[in-house]
């Protein structure tokens, strides 16, 4: 026993070492290189970041991110409760509808919304209605919130499946609690770590978002931290501009970390250790109002923007109404050339490796630290996620450019530095749900370590690991700010192909590429989901 305990300590020590080393190499070193560049400037970057214009951008970013996080978490939680706890007719279709926007690259999501609800958009043509203020903060919040709802939904559902406590909920109901009381006093507190993890990720993602604020914010003269950073980065051969980039970027990281530390303290501190034993609660029929709202959401935020995108991809030239005589498949041909396939392969390879690496690192780091550092690790690696992608890419280029310039590996390092937190936070949130009693029981009944892992730990963690891996994969596949700065002659990614097309100025072709990309990810995802579902059923019964 003593020997076993010693070996456990060694294993945990190694995991800790691996996590710390990875953090130092992947995140701390590139950021230190940036800081060294800024250090020569003394306090100039700090002063630059505190200019009135910068402060206005910081304020804008903060309230946009807060609004998006609130809306997305509320929406994601509501939809998750609906599809997981209630009997919903057409449940599978609804889930697919909710999750589908995750597969749509965000470089076209703003375009989808403007084409669906903007002036001269689809809705305008059909019903003569447009969303006022779509170009401006209202539109930025709407587009980003609906883009983040699937993210919140996915993480919360994965958390529910890891964390469900049907016995506790049943006990509450038997003791006379109505549905709402049981939800408020049992289910939500249990879910809090997952909700906080989802909210934190959405907040950081929104603070970091560039595409949507740039497209929808410019017309209103509405600046965010990222649009200012991008504008200065373009002039970054000028010392003053580079200093502003670094000052604002480090400030952005600080703001995100502060906000996350704050949100992680908001929730109730609970340490229940229930076990998943009995069958799930009987699903009650869903109320009519929640059901109607969910379907309206799916139609408005998914079907219409995607329909508008599809019509754009099928239209011969921008500005032509989508009438039969103007429809063509030619844009798909123009979107794909001899460079697209190698770029796609590179991106798939990078996204796959990044997903495996981030889930591995997230698991290692969730196992390794002891006590309070388990929560803090999530904060620490979020530094990499909070840095704007283009600035992180500059740091990675400074740190590794000499030896790894133009390789796929340097892009992979940047992806893992960026996306580690995307896996870390959900995994850490689910990790404390691995029930001690169950593994003890299994051990008592003679199961060896491997068997306990396979039959007890993995089934509980699996939904979260899968969700985390999927998120990292999709984010890596769709990113357009990192690899455009790091690619070389043989390591061009989809981002490069996308930006090349965008710069040619014809949105019909860019949209066609986005549609192809979505269909491709869908084609990969469908068998995976089907597989996972049958496997989950066989494990969880």
């Amino acid at each position: 026993m003593a020997d076993a305990a010693g070996r456990v300590g060694v294993g945990r020590g190694l995991a800790l070492l691996a996590a710390v080393l990875s953090f130092v190499v992947l995140i701390a070193w590139p950021l230190t290189r940036l800081a060294i560049e800024a250090a020569g400037a003394g306090t100039a970057p700090v002063l630059a970041a505190l200019q009135p214009e910068a402060m206005e951008a910081i304020g804008n970013s903060l309230w946009i991110a807060a609004a998006v996080t609130g809306l997305a978490v509320a929406g994601g939680l509501g939809l998750a409760l609906l599809t997981e706890h209630a009997a919903v007719p057409g449940r599978t279709i609804m889930i697919v509808g909710i999750l589908f926007p995750l597969l749509v690259p965000d470089f076209v999501s703003a375009l989808g919304w403007t084409r669906a609800f903007g002036p001269a958009g689809l809705f305008d043509r059909i019903a003569g209605v447009e969303i006022p203020g779509l170009y401006g903060p209202v539109g930025i919040v709407l587009v980003q919130a609906t883009g983040a709802i699937p993210l919140a939904y996915l993480l919360i559902v994965a958390g529910m499946r890891s964390r469900a406590e049907p016995d506790l909920e049943r006990a509450a109901r038997i003791s006379g609690a109505d549905g709402l009381t049981a939800l408020r006093t049992v289910s939500l507190p249990l879910l809090w770590p997952v909700i906080a993890a989802a909210g934190g990720l959405i907040f950081a993602t929104t603070m970091n978002a560039f595409g949507t604020p740039a497209v929808l914010g410019r017309p209103a003269g509405f600046a965010t931290m990222t649009t200012r950073i991008y504008g200065d980065l373009a002039f970054s051969s000028s010392e003053a501009a580079f200093e502003r980039v670094l000052g604002l970027s480090f400030l952005l990281v600080a703001v995100v970390l502060l906000a996350l530390a704050f949100s992680d303290r908001l929730g109730p501190r609970i340490a229940t250790r229930g076990t998943i034993t009995g069958p799930g609660l009987e699903a009650r029929p869903a109320g009519r109002l929640p059901l109607a709202m969910a379907w309206v959401f799916v139609v408005l935020s998914v079907v219409l923007p995607l329909g508008a995108l599809l019509l754009t991809a099928l239209t011969r030239a921008v500005g032509l109404p989508p009438l039969p005589e103007h429809l063509t498949l030619a844009n798909f041909g123009r979107a794909v050339d001899s460079r697209t396939l190698p770029a796609l392969l590179n991106s798939l390879l990078l996204a796959g490796f990044a997903a495996v690496a981030c889930v591995t690192l997230g698991t290692v780091a969730a196992i390794a630290p002891i006590g309070r550092w388990r929560q803090r690790w999530s904060q620490v690696v979020t530094i990499g996620f909070a840095v704007p992608g283009s600035v992180l890419a500059v740091g990675v280029l400074l740190a590794f450019g000499r030896s790894l310039r133009d390789t796929l590996l340097i892009i992979l390092l940047a992806y893992v530095a960026k996306l580690w937190a995307l896996a870390q936070r959900p995994i850490a949130g689910a990790m404390d749900r691995v029930p001690i009693d169950l593994s003890h029981a299994a051990r008592v009944h003679g199961a060896d370590g491997r068997t306990v892992l396979r039959t007890v730990v993995m089934p509980i963690l699996a939904p979260t690991l899968a969700a985390a891996g999927l998120l990292v994969f999709v984010f890596a596949l769709h990113e357009v700010t990192i690899s455009i700065l790091l690619y070389g002659p043989s390591s061009a990614t989809l981002a490069v192909a996308i930006i090349n097309l965008q710069q040619l100025g014809d949105p019909t072709v860019t949209t066609a590429l986005a549609v192809l990309l979505t269909l491709l990810v869908l084609a990969c995802a469908v068998p995976l989901v089907a597989l996972r579902r049958s496997w989950l059923h066989s494990v969880l019964g």
Partner: protein
């Protein structure tokens, strides 16, 4: 905490994952010596910077037959790069051209990072506007020489370190069904186009900044021109192409955009028309230069010079841009062309942008 405090499963997962992660990290570290000793490598000595043999006096002589590789850093559009590379393969079949193509902002960010890191990876810089290229020239990052073909480039489109290759014309674009279309820049501030004009953001697009520089430095317009645009309800959008899209979709009645993009869209069938401004389209030249620290200096010069030859110019023109040489056929130029005093607006970039942002925000 609720993680099991003893038991084999954790040991198995944690050790195997840790071993995997450490191995991965070691592999990453061992292949990146630069991370531990950034000072060991120094800037690659240039083979010709300061070398009298390649100084301006002799460079008019024919360049040697090239072979090997050349690395091109460019923000020219992909279709144009492709056309030029295809034509270059006929002239220099033994040279393999490695391309890093990105929008001006990303290209500049990469070069700035590489300068700070100690080694620019490119040999040739082919930019979109003279201002971003000028910033490299003023840091002595560009080689001073004279391409053999430089004599054919109009004087206003060349310096000691970079030469114009193509001309981008900022023109007015409007919907086809417009009754009384604008014919000059001032018309964009008229009541007839209230709330209906789109302009590209100078903070994002180099060509839009050049236009800002032209208007601000021209006493006929001044920065007040932007105030009048703003007062008339004009909208700034991020990119030049977005103006085109917005006008084609009917979101805007008219706007400022580049002639080549507008002609491409019209050829596709977009319901828009070009109005060549009566006081002149604002013309921006897209320069090429060679990095002073180029690792393939001779090939770099050969490629840069090729862009100025009739063959290179024809390839550029074939994708719809106006070639800088007037002895090469290009797209229709339907009126006057005007340009800002580049050196003047280069000096005042920050102030101009600040003045602009005070009007349009962002």
């Amino acid at each position: 905490m609720s993680y099991p405090s003893r038991g084999a499963p954790r040991r198995t997962t944690s050790t195997s994952l840790a071993v995997f992660a450490v191995a991965t990290l070691l592999a990453a570290c061992s292949s990146s010596p630069g991370t531990t000793s950034p000072q060991t490598a120094s800037i690659q000595p240039s083979t010709s910077a300061g070398d009298p043999e390649t100084s301006a006096t002799e460079s008019a002589a024919a360049l040697p037959e090239p072979s090997g590789t050349v690395s091109l850093y460019t923000s020219a559009t992909q279709d144009t790069v492709d056309a030029v590379l295809a034509a270059y393969a006929d002239v220099a079949p033994d040279v393999s051209v490695e391309v890093f193509r990105a929008p001006t902002g990303e290209l500049d960010a990469r070069i700035a990072a590489e300068v700070r890191e100690g080694q620019i990876g490119g040999d040739v810089l082919w930019g979109t506007d003279p201002l971003s290229v000028q910033s490299y020239a003023s840091q002595d990052l560009l080689e001073a020489w004279t391409p053999p073909e430089a004599a054919s480039v109009p004087a206003q489109y060349q310096t000691d370190t970079f030469w114009g290759t193509r001309l981008l014309n900022m023109v007015i674009v409007h919907g086809v069904d417009m009754d009384d279309p604008p014919t000059d820049w001032e018309d964009l501030t008229a009541a007839a186009l209230a709330d209906g004009v789109a302009i590209p953001d100078p903070g994002f697009a180099g060509s839009a900044f050049a236009v800002l520089g032209y208007f601000a430095s021209n006493p006929d317009f001044g920065i007040e021109y932007y105030q009048r645009l703003s007062d008339n309800g004009a909208t700034q959008v991020q990119a030049v192409a977005e103006v085109l899209t917005g006008v084609a979709e009917g979101r805007f009645n008219a706007g400022m955009t580049l002639d080549k993009s507008a002609r491409d869209a019209i050829a596709q069938g977009s319901p828009i028309e070009i109005a060549w401004p009566a006081s002149g389209a604002i013309t921006i030249y897209s320069p090429v230069g060679v990095f002073a620290a180029a690792q393939n200096m001779d090939n770099g010069k050969h490629f840069a010079n090729f862009l100025l030859t009739p063959e290179g110019q024809a390839a550029i023109a074939s994708t719809g841009w106006q070639p800088v040489r007037d002895d090469v056929d290009g797209p229709p130029i339907d009126g006057d062309q005007v340009s800002p005093e580049w050196s003047e607006i280069f000096e005042s970039q920050e102030e101009l942008l600040d003045e602009y942002r005070a009007i349009f925000g962002g």
